[in-house]
Amino acid sequence: MPEKLLCASSDISETTAKICELEGVEIGVIRHKGTVVAYRNVCPHQGGPVCEGLKMPKVCVEFDEERRPLKQSFDTDEMHFVCPWHGWEFKIETGEALGDPKIRLNRYKVIERDENIYVEV
């Protein structure tokens, strides 16, 4: 598979996805847990710019010993892209939709080499 230059390593961060355009296709790329992930910037729901929304952690519920909810909390170990159009959430690590892991973002294989980010297309 041919590699295409996406951007410089210094262009990307852990906080916000950088949106790059490659042959007319927008790709969101972000540094996450020590690796670089890249997804097509199109939500599988209705086509929203999924990588441009908020980054939010998973919401959890904590129970007491009788399974009564105590409180809600954020699990910052699992961060999500939230599509700004409708709020569909996807794990940044895998691209899986929270509501149904069969639905995934379109992921690119990323190569970081010589201070540059390449994707296989």
Binding site: T16, N41, V42, H45, Q46, G47, G48, P49, E52, G53, L54, K55, M56, P57, F74, V82, P84, W85, H86, G87, E89, D100
Partner: protein
């Protein structure tokens, strides 16, 4: 006790998704869809879209007859405004996840035309919508206001403002204007005042009403609508205080059930009390309840009607036969893993002639035209009818095309 600062603010004003918000940028993928699918070749009408009228409340209040009520709204800032329009509990924006809620206030627009026209045109042009039927947002719960005179005064002021400041200024925006159903004699006056105004394509009954739709006090309203040849829309809403929904503990629950339940109540009363027989020329449009409730209610009512025809003596055919002659807006279409059910639903409701595309933009559960255009079981003509042709007939309007489509056509 010391207060913990909210370190986990994942939707701050500085987030790039919110900081420099622009509708055209947010919807750039919608514009791509419009170009890829050649929407330039046909007319698209969105029969249910919204603006946030409370942002223009000081303007709207200038059109209010009652000086004391106008003073209440203008003098007390947000407190006064809350006393005029009920505030709904619920996180429509999902705690900031749907960024257009937080971003809207930051969007820059030119001084003219009116801000609401610019914002509306931006999303219309992105989606490929040529004509949009524009409705208010917080006022969808105005009918629940405990003071009927507030509902009447707000409705009249809003309708006047809408006609003068928005509909007169843009031929691509129309509306079914607010009808204060809780005060029938005022509703009748409202029909006379607004029926022939530019851009008024019908009248709207909103959400939860204090009396059932078949109440005798409403008969003159329906007769007057028939005389004017204007359709009546029933725009659903949720109302968490409604006793039937009060046990639901989450916004998703009350929203999912409330919007459908609202129209199921009105539709059941409408059909079983023989309103289609009493007002055969009055067309009704059932707005924003999704589609799945339609086959459900058809089956339930037909099954019971065949056993209990004496309970509904005005009917000359099954409830579903009446429902199939009414009109429905499409959003929010139930789209997850149910293609087969959706196809059956379309057949049961005669969707090719009775369904009208709606986006509900800018609300969080909006639908793009592609939700209709990409359905594999519809032929091209059926798609075009649902996206625009059926609205042309119901509203009796001209197919005013957007400028970018006309220019794209010239280029070929």
């Amino acid at each position: 006790m010391s207060l913990t600062p909210n370190a986990l603010n994942y939707s701050s004003d500085n987030d790039p998704a919110i900081k420099e918000f622009n509708t055209t940028k947010l919807l750039k993928n919608a514009r791509k869809q419009a170009e890829e699918r050649n929407y330039k070749d046909f007319f698209i009408c969105d029969v249910d879209s919204h603006h946030y009228e409370t942002e223009a409340l000081p303007e709207i209040l200038q059109y209010m007859d009652d000086p004391v009520m106008r003073h209440l709204g203008l003098s007390a800032g947000n407190v006064g405004r809350a006393s005029l329009i009920p505030q709904a509990i619920g996180s429509q924006d999902m705690a900031g996840r749907v960024t257009r809620y937080a971003g809207r206030n930051k969007e820059k627009v030119p001084e003219s035309p009116h801000r609401d026209i610019t914002l509306t045109r931006r999303w219309m042009d992105a989606m490929g919508v040529d004509v949009a039927c524009l409705f208010p947002t917080p006022m969808l719960l105005l009918a629940t206001h405990p003071q009927p005179e507030v509902e009447v005064n707000m409705a009249r002021a809003y309708n006047r403002w809408l006609c003068e400041r928005i509909l007169e200024e843009d031929k691509r925006i129309c509306s079914m204007v607010y009808l204060p159903m809780n005060e029938p004699h005022e509703a009748e006056k409202m029909i006379d005042e607004f029926a022939e105004r530019k851009g008024v394509v019908g009248f709207l009954s909103t959400g939860y009403l204090k009396r059932p739709v078949h109440d005798n006090a409403n008969m003159r309203i329906f007769a007057k609508l028939e005389e004017h040849g204007k359709p009546l829309g029933f725009h659903a809403a949720y109302h968490w205080a409604d006793s039937s929904l009060a046990q639901l503990n989450k916004f998703i629950s009350v929203h999912a059930l409330g919007f459908s339940f609202c129209n199921m109540i009105h539709m059941t009363n409408w059909v079983l009390n023989g309103m289609p027989e009493r007002f055969p020329k009055l067309k009704t449009l059932w707005i924003e309840s999704g589609l799945a409730w339609v086959p459900f209610l058809m089956q339930r009512l037909d099954n019971e009607y065949m056993m209990r025809t004496s309970d509904a003596p005005l009917l000359k055919k099954k409830p579903s036969d009446y429902m199939r002659e009414m009109f429905y807006s499409s959003q929010p279409m139930e789209l997850v893993d149910n293609r087969e059910a959706l196809e059956v639903t379309f057949k049961m409701m005669n969707a090719e002639s009775q369904l009208l595309y709606s986006s509900d933009y800018p609300h969080w559960d909006m639908d793009l035209p592609s939700t209709i255009y990409d359905l594999p079981f519809l032929k091209e003509q059926a798609k075009r009818d649902i996206l625009g042709g059926n609205a042309l007939k119901l509203f009796n309007i001209e197919p005013t095309m957007s400028d970018w489509k006309l220019e794209a056509r010239k280029k070929g």
